[in-house]
């Protein structure tokens, strides 16, 4: 497939989307402090270019699966953000009616296959989605995301081998944000070029500037084309950065404020904003209008989540089996 042109409207969409994702996450953090969101909460701030560039490369039926840093991906695929906020708050209006919480977002309708809390657990699933697409000859490609920490799991290595052996239409995308909780990439292996792990399986692989949506788009488009035309899997290492702590209780002693500030200079939203301004794609007034739309939509999300109810107790039993009269054991 020829590369799509990155036009004015693409930049403007990227800008508005990424700004929305950022503000959505910031609001979620605020709701966490108000104890409306509980448990863990892993924010995507800093990594937005990976998602923006990838989604632009996706075709209608393509699929996506990722780990627990997963609030904004379904939004990018078309899920109503109000439902994501409601899920974060554990409300029936949420994508899983409050069952899944922050780590477990899903949308069958929008080909978003989760939202997975066990590190590395989603990697074979992603190859499995691709296995089905090959089997059923749908022509769809699966984008399978994981963190830099997840590549140290056996599931990653077993899956890379199988995906090559069976020539599956899957793109493995490592979001190397520098850290797995408090552990930097250097401290998890004697190499730091994670993409080279593909070489052992003779899988096409490369590093990508994960702060630049254009670079991400180009790499994912090539990989998806390869998969779609029967060329099998690709491993991409997106070099990006996480601005916030791992979850909400992380003192971040493992890095300096200067390091964070250094990456914020390459902020993907800032980069796109600069292009828009330099190329005069939008006036200051138009940019302000985008900002206020974003703000309003975030507020709508909170309002929707606030107004939605908590699920009633009987919901606990609703979705354990698809069989509707399953005989659960009841104790006191």
């Amino acid at each position: 497939m020829p590369k799509k042109k990155i036009t004015k409207s693409v930049y403007l969409k990227w800008y508005e989307d990424m700004l929305f994702w950022r503000k959505f996450e910031d609001k979620a953090a605020a709701l966490y402090i108000q104890q409306k969101i509980r448990g863990f909460l892993h924010l995507y701030n800093g990594q937005e270019a990976v998602l923006a560039g990838s989604v632009f490369a996706m075709e209608e039926n393509d699929r996506m699966i990722t780990a627990y840093r997963n609030h904004v991906q379904p939004i990018a695929l078309g899920v109503d953000p109000k439902k994501i906020m409601a899920e974060l708050c554990g409300k029936v209006g949420g994508t899983s009616q409050g069952n899944g919480g922050s780590m477990h977002m899903f949308s069958k309708e929008h080909n978003f296959f989760g939202g997975h809390g066990i590190v590395g657990g989603q990697i074979p699933l992603g190859a499995g989605l691709a296995f089905a697409d090959k089997y059923l000859e749908t022509g769809a490609v699966t984008l399978t995301y994981m963190g830099d920490g997840a590549v140290r799991q056996g599931s990653f290595h077993e899956t890379l081998n199988l995906a090559m052996l069976w020539n599956l239409p899957v793109v493995f995308i490592i979001e190397n944000n520098g850290y797995a909780m408090g552990t930097s990439v250097e401290r998890t292996a004697n190499h730091t070029d994670i993409y080279k792990l593909g070489l052992g399986y003779e899988m096409p692989c490369e590093p990508v500037d994960g702060m630049d949506p254009v670079a991400v788009y180009n790499a994912v488009q090539e990989a998806a084309d390869r998969a779609r035309s029967g060329g099998g899997p690709t491993l991409l290492e997106m070099r990006t950065y996480r601005y916030k702590g791992h979850s909400m209780s992380d003192a971040q002693h493992y890095r300096t404020k200067d390091e964070v500030a250094e990456y914020q200079k390459k902020d993907p939203i800032g980069i796109v904003e600069k292009i828009i301004k330099d190329k005069k794609y939008a006036s200051a007034k138009e940019l302000e209008a985008i900002e206020s739309r974003v703000k309003d939509l975030v507020n709508d999300c909170v309002k929707y989540a606030d107004e939605s109810e908590f699920p009633t107790a009987d919901n606990l039993y609703k979705n354990v089996y698809i069989q509707d009269d399953y005989p659960f054991i009841k104790t006191f």
């Binding site: 509980r38 657990g121 919901n315 606990l316 006191f332």
Partner: protein
């Protein structure tokens, strides 16, 4: 002389004291060294023992659990921390097939002196993958011992015994207990594995429990005492082996029993105790024994669903009222 310390400090003290005694003991796991433990249960240990003996691992549970077992077959005494036992699922083959069975398969040549430790069960609204109780899973497997302390004093004494034990021990804590405080002696003490503790004496009904959820039994017993019902609370402390004698002795006294366990109901420690009591103390049982367990479902995220899922004091009171025919 006692001083008040937190559960997490009791864990760190037990490991550190044992590591000072025996050079072959080492600790490994995710974030145990430079981060001082995801829940700060190994605080200061990297500083004291250095990176040879306190090792940060990548997220590779299968690999490091197995390396632990192999090193234990070859002269070392590892302590392997799982950030939570939910993540031991990717390593369970190494625990069940290698650690637990090695001594028998090798005809008594290779024992495996290893401790696998970390939090188990739910800890707030963490949803299905991060809220599972694996005590009864591991207790089901011959070759393992399974310890589940409920307070800082027990944790320290039991962990020291677990580290000295020459068989593989699963040692289970709780994120929700690490901050619990208690007076703990400065002097060294050990608590033997396999011995239950009478946490509260009473004559009307026996409540058997273990681990974090026992606090719900405490609350229930307080409430019931106001109504003149005296509960005896037995803390199993170890669920393999189980101190059956302590349970039966109490049952012979009270003739009524409620078991409180945060676990799925099909085939758990509660069902084992009920079986044992009807086999060995049938004539002493005045009312059907009742167990208070979790719902027969994965735990879900919303607070209303968490409440429906977990055992709590209110349910325990209802169960006690039933076995004492007060309902």
């Amino acid at each position: 002389m006692g001083r008040v310390i937190q559960f997490r400090e009791a864990i760190a003290e037990a490991m550190s004291e044992e590591m000072r005694r025996d050079e072959t003991i080492y600790l490994m796991g995710e974030e145990v060294a430079e981060y001082n433990g995801a829940y700060k249960a190994s605080k200061g240990m990297l500083d004291e023992f250095g990176p040879k003996r306190v090792l940060d691992t990548p997220i590779a549970e299968l690999g490091f659990a197995g390396i632990g077992v192999g090193s234990a077959m070859n002269g070392l005494r590892p302590i392997v921390e799982f950030m939570t036992f939910n993540f031991s699922m990717v390593a369970i083959d190494q625990i069940i097939n290698n650690a637990a069975k090695m001594f028998q398969m090798s005809g008594g040549q290779f024992n495996v002196p290893i401790v696998f430790r970390g939090p188990t069960a739910s800890a707030g609204q963490l949803a299905a993958t991060h809220s599972q109780a694996f005590e009864s899973w591991y207790a089901n497997c011959p070759g393992l011992k399974v310890v589940v302390p409920s307070n800082p004093y027990d944790a320290k004494g039991l962990l020291k015994s677990a580290i000295r034990d020459n068989d593989p021990v699963i040692f289970m804590e709780s994120e929700q207990m690490y901050g619990d405080k208690m007076e703990v002696p400065e002097e060294e003490y050990l608590i033997p594995l396999g011995k239950a503790d009478i946490r509260r004496a009473g004559s009307d009904v026996t409540i058997v429990s273990f681990g974090k959820i026992i606090k719900e039994a405490d609350k229930a017993a307080e409430e019931l005492a106001k109504e003149g019902v005296e509960c005896e609370i037995i803390d199993l402390r170890t669920v393999r082996p189980i101190d059956y004698a302590a349970v039966v002795e109490s049952l012979k006294k009270t003739n009524r029993m409620v078991i409180v366990e945060e676990a799925w109901p099909l085939g758990n420690i509660s069902t084992e105790l009920i079986t044992h009591c009807q086999e060995h103390a049938f004539d002493y049982i005045d009312a059907p024994i009742i167990r208070v367990n979790t719902a027969d479902t994965p735990m879900a995220y919303a607070p209303t669903l968490v409440k429906e899922f977990l055992p709590n004091a209110e349910r325990i009171i209802k169960a006690v009222n039933k076995v004492t025919y007060r309902d």
